[in-house]
């Protein structure tokens, strides 16, 4: 087995990398903050955080010259996208206009359309529809959600979540690429366990 250094992508002014770093460390992982291509080459796994808008995130990745290197790295290194970090794995995003994503997962990111308060904010359960190493043992846990957009995808879904009768994609997997709509770093011990699972992948 190779090393197990987790690279946390640091892009833009909006990153909430502080809390994700703490949570991975709590789970027993070693974290390295990735600011450029060279640092991206020196890590074994990738975590893409995200606070902000789809458009802004993609602009920042481009500005930091991380966009193309990240697209390549995702194909060979186990990757976990969190919230917006999952959403930008998609082909297209519709937040503040139409923006091209990393196009790793064939999906689109659209506003949540429900007859209820948006953003969907708070703890909610997940319904694991396909067993997978990331969510192993977490099937009956609650996770913290905080989003106004959802990923629309039909092929790589591993869990769904119900918000007032509306079911949306709460996690995805395609080979070694994972994405969660919720925030494991804000989901108490269940979230720490998820990071432990990711470390062991």
């Amino acid at each position: 087995m190779n090393g197990n250094i987790i690279g946390l992508i640091n892009y833009g002014i909006a990153g909430n990398i502080h809390s994700i770093k703490k949570a991975i460390e709590k789970a027993g992982g070693t974290v390295k903050i990735v600011n450029n291509e060279e640092e991206l080459n020196s890590i074994d796994k990738i975590v893409i955080p995200g606070v902000g808008s789809f458009k802004d995130a993609m602009n920042e990745l481009e500005k930091d010259e991380l966009l193309e290197p990240l697209k390549k790295a995702i194909k060979i290194k186990p990757t976990l996208g969190i919230c917006l970090g999952m959403q930008i794995l998609s082909t297209l995003g519709f937040e503040y206009g139409k923006t091209q994503g990393l196009d790793t997962i064939k999906a689109e990111v659209k506003p949540i359309l429900v007859d209820a308060k948006v953003p969907h904010m708070g703890f909610n359960t997940i319904d694991v529809v396909k067993s997978n190493p990331l969510l192993n043992g977490l099937e009956s846990e609650e996770f913290y959600f905080m989003h106004s957009y959802e990923m629309v995808n039909y092929t790589d879904i591993v869990s769904l979540t119900d918000y007032v009768g509306h079911k949306f994609v709460s996690s995805i997997q395609k080979d070694n690429i994972y994405g969660v709509q919720f925030h494991p770093e804000k989901s108490r011990e269940a979230g720490i366990k998820l990071f432990q699972n990711f470390i062991e992948i």
Binding site: I17, H18, K22, K117, G122, F123, H147, G191
Partner: protein, 251 residues
């Protein structure tokens, strides 16, 4: 949807204090110790408001916030003295997941809500409203209930939603710290006037107050301070009580 039980920390650095009617401060403890306690009790979120930053017109104390965020694996909202996009950014990098703004947005530059929402996403932008009741309407106050703005609370709530705020944190100048129940009419009016989540603070004095508020106004979350700070109840007690009364809360 599960109603969130949120702890409110009114901070006059370095201490968490508990004002009555936003005045007459009592020292409660250090934020870092209190968040540990409430995290272990099962809080869904913590909101930290530096209640003197705007009033004293001094810089936000980022180090204090970072220290508090360190061991907290639940959402952490921070407010008090936020004036610029750079403040938002620095707070997120200090460990905040949401940033609450009041004084600067309502008095000087509401446009900052639009800017912040575009950069950081709506979900991270909270507008803190301090409401004061008059005969026929509620007025927005700032600087910890000291300064009048002339703005109507309901109009302002609608405006901040239009501008891209993702949540409203509603406090009530008349009820805060008194532990005599929430202003449930105010809460209901605000909840019904917007489509974004509303967190209601100010007034929990007994468990029934929380139940009454949730049943009547249906807020997305309830913020509690005195009841917890004076160890009348734990978060576990509150959640158990609500669950037994048919109100959905998280584990």
């Amino acid at each position: 949807m599960k109603t969130r039980i949120i702890v409110k920390l009114d901070v006059k650095p370095p201490y968490v204090v508990k004002p009555v009617h936003f005045e007459g401060l009592r020292k409660i403890g250090l934020p870092v110790d209190l968040v540990k306690k409430y995290y272990e009790q099962g809080a869904d979120e913590v909101i930290y408001i530096d209640i003197v930053s705007s009033l004293y017109q001094r810089e936000i104390l980022f180090d204090e916030i970072e220290k508090t965020a360190n061991e907290l694996f639940i959402p952490f909202g921070v407010g008090g003295g936020v004036k610029t996009i750079e403040d938002f950014s620095k707070l997120f990098h200090s460990g905040a997941d949401k940033v609450a703004i009041n004084t600067h947005a309502v008095q000087k530059n509401p446009e900052i809500i639009n800017q912040a929402a575009e950069i950081f996403g709506s979900q991270a932008v909270v507008v803190n409203i301090e409401a004061k009741k008059w005969d026929t309407y509620y007025e927005c106050y700032t600087d910890c209930g000291r300064i009048q703005t002339g703005k109507d609370v309901i109009e302002w709530a609608k405006e901040v939603e239009q501008r891209g705020a993702g949540e409203i944190f509603l406090q009530c100048v008349d009820a805060d710290g008194r532990q005599r129940g929430f202003d449930i009419e105010l809460a209901k009016q605000v909840v019904n006037s917007v489509n974004i989540p509303v967190i209601v603070a100010s007034g929990a004095g007994k468990l029934e107050d929380i139940k009454e508020l949730i049943e009547y106004a249906k807020p997305s979350g309830v913020a509690i301070a005195s009841l917890l700070h004076y160890n009348k109840y734990t978060i576990k007690d509150i959640k158990e009580y609500l669950r037994n009364n048919g109100i959905e809360v998280s584990k």
